[in-house]
Symmetry: C2
Subunit: 164 residues, 2 copies
DNA sequence: TCAAAATTAGAACAATATTCTATTATTAAT
DNA sequence: ATTAATAATAGAATATTGTTCTAATTTTGA
């Protein structure tokens, strides 16, 4: 697979069945010992070690992070916020996205097609702090047309991993 | 902070400034050495080691995972799918959520208030596979009223971490 | 103010990651 | 199909880091 262009993917690394199994395990828990992954895959420590290094080197694995229980840190009030811009000039779009990146309450932000222009996931402590966030930070950004907030009643599933 | 009830949080663990710094570091990169975190926090290895263990033991940290570059594994076609149910009986809701949990293409699913009942994040290879997913898996679930798919044009921000 | 409990530092030890060498398997060209 | 070159693997050797231990220090609560 070959793409032309600047900063685009040049090729898709071929992952064999063992790589896929390994990636699945690492997406579940990246803190097991090499030996544990090796036993699961019926390979030697070295084989697994080299495969992980290759996945890192080729950019398949981008990092390793700790996950938190949001309720334990008082950030379990989640809102999906839909935003419509007034005007879609390139400058407006870029400036909006730049401003959003500064907001620590926003954990996800997607530019989408359809009814609204952006869908954001926002994590705060409670409704009061959401209101505060809205009036002092979000709507302070220029060029926002209107917003629609969908409050999360229940997190059915929330995983950073992708099935391959 | 104290709550009454079954399966609710009993107390919120008090995190001091060092804990918060540490959690922030671990959410960025959980594979550094204890010594590296210790240097950053101006603490000894043991102090950091014990703090991490406590964060794990008290459930603040729920796990450690590898993050992937979705484009490298051909799962960079992302769709935010809004779903309305026909009927909201308890059984219908539970059955719907149970079915959603089985779908590996769905990485996030939130039960929300507002215009729609559920907002899903779906990761597949391309539009063709999304169509396939829609007609064979998603709409095969009973009790779905209608859906609205917002295709992601650009991921402005997509992080599993929360700012505390 | 004092005793009890928790936190921390530094050393000692155990476990694991990483490197090295040799062997085996895979690939690509003839 | 054969062979040379390359890549992947296993097992041993080494280096690094995680984990435990002990003592000292700080914090907490009466």
């Amino acid at each position: 697979m070959l793409y032309i262009g600047f900063n685009r993917k040049i090729f898709t690394m071929e992952l064999d069945a063992l790589d896929k199994q390994l990636v699945a395990l690492l997406q579940e828990d990246c803190k097991k010992t090499t030996k544990q992954y090796a036993d699961a895959l019926q390979l030697s420590k070295t084989a697994v070690y080299e495969r992980i290094r290759r996945l890192e080197r080729t950019g398949v694995i981008t990092g390793y992070v700790a996950l938190l229980n949001k309720s334990k840190v008082n950030r379990d009030f989640t809102v999906m916020c839909h935003i419509r811009l007034v005007q879609h000039t390139k400058e407006n779009v870029l400036r909006f996205e730049r401003e959003i990146l500064k907001l620590e309450e926003v954990s996800e932000c997607f530019h989408v097609g359809g009814d609204y222009d952006y869908i954001l996931k926002i994590n705060v402590e409670d409704m009061k702090s959401y209101r505060e966030f809205m009036i002092t930070k979000l709507t302070a950004i220029n060029n926002i047309g209107n917003t629609q907030s969908s409050f999360v009643i229940n997190e059915v599933k929330n995983s950073p991993s992708v099935h391959i």
